[in-house]
Amino acid sequence: MVETLIIIIAGILFSVGTYMLLSKNLLRIIFGTGLYTHASHLMLMAVAGLKQGAAPLLSERAEAYVDPIPQALILTSIVINFALTALILVLGYRTYMETGFEDMRQLKGMDHE
């Protein structure tokens, strides 16, 4: 039940993210990618099944424990996306300083090449 809810939330985040990615403002696009990654993490968590038992600490007595793999995957993915978001924010800032544009239409290129 909760899984369904999470999947729906992930879907909403994906659609909002797509909307923002299609906008022309660079900063909005960057936020859109942030929403995308959050949505994908929620999905990873939901497809593996939520809260089915204790924390995945293996002991003799644990009857049931949640699957640790999706958690490990999400953690890895969060770290990577944190670095990427930092990188693209800096890149966006530098591009803005260098070209004076934050509108993607003006970053097309090709005209003077």
Partner: protein, 495 residues
């Protein structure tokens, strides 16, 4: 268990970390970087021999047996690609030893190039889909920085688009991994292959496979190549050569691996989609290659064109076509690095990459000119050179499978590729020269050694094609029969 598997990943990684501390000493950096790659190459060579004699080599990191831990798998395909990537890495490092790039040398060009090679090697060697994602990201992050290093307007503009597209593709990758995990409860490729075989031809699995195809096609520039020409023409040519030879090939390898191992149970769907994408990529790449007047863009479209051809070979998926695709993949890595290095020398000497402004270079640089012609002939597949056998095998198998249209597209587009490169050769080397002695913007001397090494490789691959095919035989056996791979990774312990 074979600890040698970690060497092509760990040694360049550690070397890259050391190089960061030697910021002020570029010559030492270069020496260490090349040394690290040669050590890794020696390990790859040993693994190649072990593959031939003992079969597939695996390493379960930390002693956690597959499918529970992280597994590295070196079958012949992976090892050959790793070896090619390392040789190309060395050549690109040598080409990057250029006085005009002194600023880049001080700003971590060499460690970043090493990190890119680390990511590529890791992608080739990993036996786990999520790990593949991680190594993709290692490669990509290195490429983001390499692309924007220098910070010119064009570079920044192109890197923004490149990073955004790859971030979206990576998100789709994670989503596809989530679906696959939901279906099979594992991400170890051998384990996945086993469970996919148990599931049989299942529509759901194929849909997830196609989602993976979207991701890998974006990275491999298969049909979804709209992003490629920009970023490949922005950075210095030494970096562009590394990108052209390695980046798209990682995507191709991922397609080759997953679509010969996991998503093989509905070939009527996956094969058709791959063939169609390959054919369209060849056609559109060929159109791009003849429609541009910039050397960088012509070469970038040549990269796209050959991706389509290799994918056609993978889509046919019989022994002959897979041997051809692998051979052509190795050939393509070598020749694309070669072309970009020679093209880079032309651009450096002329000071521009617009073909209309370059003329008569043959008078000052005859060796460079003839070598460029030789590279163009290798791309076209003229017999003694390396392109011939791969093309022959793929086309033979294509005609045998009744794919006449796509085979003809393959033949015609390879002629167009030759034409586009001949145009570069004729326009930039023939004619009345525009430069006087001493007016050249660079000597282009740094292209000589890597150019010769790659030329020797291309000729060697072509002349020794019989020997190469013999070495490819275990690779093809693994690709056509997933059981070999599964057996090597999982053993009999799990079942």
């Amino acid at each position: 268990m074979n600890n040698l598997l970690i060497v092509p990943i760990a040694v360049p990684l550690v070397a890259a970390m050391v190089l960061v501390f030697l910021q002020k000493r570029p010559r030492l950096q270069l020496a260490i970087a090349i040394g690290a790659l040669l050590v890794a190459l020696a390990a790859a060579g040993t693994l190649m021999i072990q593959n031939k004699t003992e079969g597939i080599q695996t390493l379960h990191i930390g002693g956690w047996e597959a499918p529970f831990g992280i597994t590295l798998v070196a079958d012949m395909t992976s090892v050959l690609l790793v070896a090619a990537a390392l040789v190309i890495g060395v050549c690109c490092l040598l080409f990057a030893w250029d006085p005009t790039l002194a600023g880049h040398h001080r700003h971590y060009l060499f460690p970043l190039m090493l990190l890119l090679v680390v990511g590529v090697n890791g992608s080739f060697l990993t036996g786990d889909l999520f790990n593949l994602f991680v190594f993709f990201e290692v490669t990509l992050i290195a490429s983001y920085v390499l692309l924007s290093l220098g910070g010119t307007k064009t570079q920044l503009r192109e890197s923004i688009k490149y990073v955004l597209i790859n971030m979206v593709a990576s998100t789709v990758f994670v989503v596809a991994v989530a679906y696959l995990y939901a279906l099979f409860g594992t991400l170890n490729m051998a384990h996945l292959a086993e469970r996919a075989a148990e599931a049989g031809p299942d529509g759901l699995v194929t849909v997830v496979g196609l989602l993976f195809l979207v991701v890998f096609a974006t990275k491999a520039a298969l049909l979804l190549f709209f992003w490629l020409p920009g970023p490949y023409s922005a950075p210095p040519m030494a970096v562009a050569a590394l990108f052209a030879a390695l980046l798209t090939k990682v995507g191709i390898y991922a397609i080759l691996r997953t679509f010969t191992l996991i998503f093989i149970h509905q070939p009527e769907v996956t094969g058709t989609v791959l063939t169609a994408m390959g054919a369209l990529t060849m056609l559109l790449g060929a159109l791009g290659a003849v429609s541009h007047w910039s050397i960088r863009r012509i070469l970038a479209y040549n990269v796209i064109l050959s991706v389509g051809f290799i994918i056609f070979g993978i889509a046919l998926a019989d022994e002959e076509s897979l041997a051809g695709a692998l051979f052509y993949l190795l050939h393509d890595m070598v020749t694309k690095a070669w072309l970009f290095i020679l093209g880079g020398a032309i651009i450096a000497i002329a000071g521009t990459d617009r073909l209309r402004d370059i003329k008569g270079l043959i008078r000052y640089r005859p060796q460079l000119g003839w070598m460029f012609l030789l590279a163009a002939m290798a791309v076209a597949g003229v017999p003694p050179l390396s392109g011939f056998i791969g093309k022959l095998l793929i086309l033979k198998s294509g005609v045998g499978a009744g794919q006449f249209t796509v085979s003809i597209i393959g033949l015609v587009t390879s002629l167009i590729a030759f034409y586009s490169l001949l145009r570069v050769f004729i326009l930039s080397f023939w004619g009345e020269t525009l430069l006087n002695e001493g007016e050249q913007h660079a000597t282009g001397r740094n292209a000589v050694l890597p150019g010769l090494v790659l030329a020797a490789l291309s000729v060697g691959l072509g002349l020794g094609s019989g020997v190469v095919l013999e070495w490819l035989e275990p690779a093809v056996r693994t690709l056509t029969d997933p059981a070999v791979y599964i057996e090597a990774v999982l053993g009999t312990a799990v079942r």
